[in-house]
Symmetry: C2
Subunit: 318 residues, 2 copies
């Protein structure tokens, strides 16, 4: 379930404590706990694990000091998913009924707000300093701007630049912030901080490109989501942008994607082009950049783990 | 419009700068600005003004240092209103179309999130320290818990204790936090901090009791809201709790308030009791407590202004 568990001793040493402290962070109030606990079932814990790996990649950073921030990152991620599910009116996520479906939009808004606030409380009360708080608040702001951008341009074909801006705001900044925060708290030097940030950015771009590819061509049984969901809801991603550029049937495809109807026909048109290879090649190039940016000063075991995370990102099937 | 403008030199000196910096805080992104600017039209600026008054109530606290936190408090208040309007499906607030009605729940969720995040960013980047951040994050958490409590017990008659818990979480903690933060940043001593906090708590309790009274008996032309709105949406407040205790028609009233139907009849039943006087007396007692808690060490001009705020709270008609 948790892909990182087997990665290396940093990851496995931290995972149980992380799970325990996530539960603890939501247990102040009985209803909040009942409503939130299911939200943390499943999930790869990619964000806190990236942070913990980076925080221990050169200097050792004590678990006790790192854990509240790791929890805060997962709380922020989960809060944004809860609010996303309102936005998408999703009924299920990771096989579990969404807060929106279970309690209505009202309570779902508040549960998300609670998780955001709890994350900022954890950070404030554990004295990480202003740079950490500022990175986190900017990260949340960027998630909002990315999501607003997406919501306001549904059924419109973005340029490649617009697509990249969106996935950067929605995903890459989050992963790069996790890496950056790990480097900051463990007091790495400025260049190492920038390099680990660049590692995270490229990881995030690759992650989202693969996600967008899986939405079209993933195995529904493994992803747990019906194919072409993005297109149905008007979100136009890289495979479409590429196919529109190279397909003979571009006019038909454009009609489909700007209406969200007949998604199966769109998938066939995209499949007849080089879009899948094109997306994979782009994702792999980002993974290569991520790898190149890993500072040479890292401990071998953690560097290896960070490379394995990168490999996982392109090889994943869900 | 802004009741505090005429209060004293602290208030009037700060108000223009506050308005300017609120606008500045939302102008990073064109759409965000367009969507948010109307949200700040109207409003009493009670929270930032309380903070600014307290921050200057004994020692002078430089405007440049206090303003970002004042802005953050108004952003948090506004964010919570934006999310409340999703919860209540409100079409208008302060005569302006709500984000929920204008852009849909999706964008409204994100606008609220953006404002919360921006508030935390302002605080992080202006080095107020961990206690300030922690107070703010707990405040947001409490707003959520209070609102969840309310949403989960609609059409149920609360005990007096439950009513007080709810209005404390929803309103009083916010006002007391504003006062407390003012005392903290201007480095008042521990006892003064606690006294100003108690002033704020009592102010907040009185504020909410009067608000609940205005919902039934306010002049619709002045409040801008139809009478009995709370009751229609299932929120049962102090006038009802009192009337249920003393009215001969309590069984009828109970039927009405647990169904939300025939609100006009409920208003008549409540009006025939001492509920209005009872609520006013309670609110006035809190105002008296607020006043008593004002530290004697405050500057006369600011102490006077804080007393005037208290008077405003019980005398207001909207």
């Amino acid at each position: 379930m948790n892909f990182m568990a087997a990665l290396n001793e940093v990851a496995s040493k931290n995972l149980c404590v992380l799970e325990e402290q996530i539960r603890e962070s939501i247990s102040e109030d009985t209803f909040i706990f009942e409503a939130c606990a299911p939200l943390f079932k499943g999930g790869k814990r990619l964000r806190p694990m990236l942070f913990l790996l980076c925080a221990n990649s050169k200097n050792d950073f004590p678990q006790k000091k790192s854990m509240p921030l790791a929890v805060a990152l997962e709380l922020i991620h989960t809060a944004s998913l809860v609010h996303d599910d309102i936005i998408d009116s999703s009924k299920k996520r990771r096989g579990v009924e969404t807060s929106n479906s279970k309690y209505g939009a009202q309570i779902a808004v508040l549960i998300g707000d609670y998780l955001f606030a709890k994350a900022f409380q954890l950070v404030a009360e554990n004295n990480y300093g202003a740079e950490v708080s500022s990175t986190l608040s900017k990260l949340v702001k960027n998630l909002c701007v990315g999501e607003i951008m997406q919501d306001r341009s549904l059924y419109e074909v973005p340029t490649l630049g617009e697509y990249y801006t969106r996935i950067n705001l929605k995903t890459a900044i989050f992963l790069s912030s996790c890496c950056r925060l790990g480097a900051i708290v463990s007091e790495m030097d400025k260049r190492e901080v920038e390099n680990l940030t660049a590692y995270g950015t490229n990881l995030g771009l690759a992650f989202q490109i693969i996600d967008d590819l899986l939405d079209f061509f993933g195995d529904e049984k493994i992803t747990g989501k019906p194919r072409g969901g993005d297109l149905k809801s008007g979100v136009i991603t890289l495979p479409v942008i590429r196919a529109l550029e190279v397909s003979d049937e571009a006019p038909t495809l454009r009609k489909i994607v700007t209406s969200g109807k007949d998604v199966d026909a769109a998938i066939k048109i995209i499949q007849a082009t080089d879009a899948v290879d094109y997306c994979r090649t782009r994702a792999e190039a980002h993974i290569e950049s991520a790898r190149v940016n890993l500072p040479l000063t890292l401990k071998t075991s953690v560097a290896l783990a960070l490379e394995q995370v990168a490999d996982f990102i392109v090889d994943r099937t869900r």
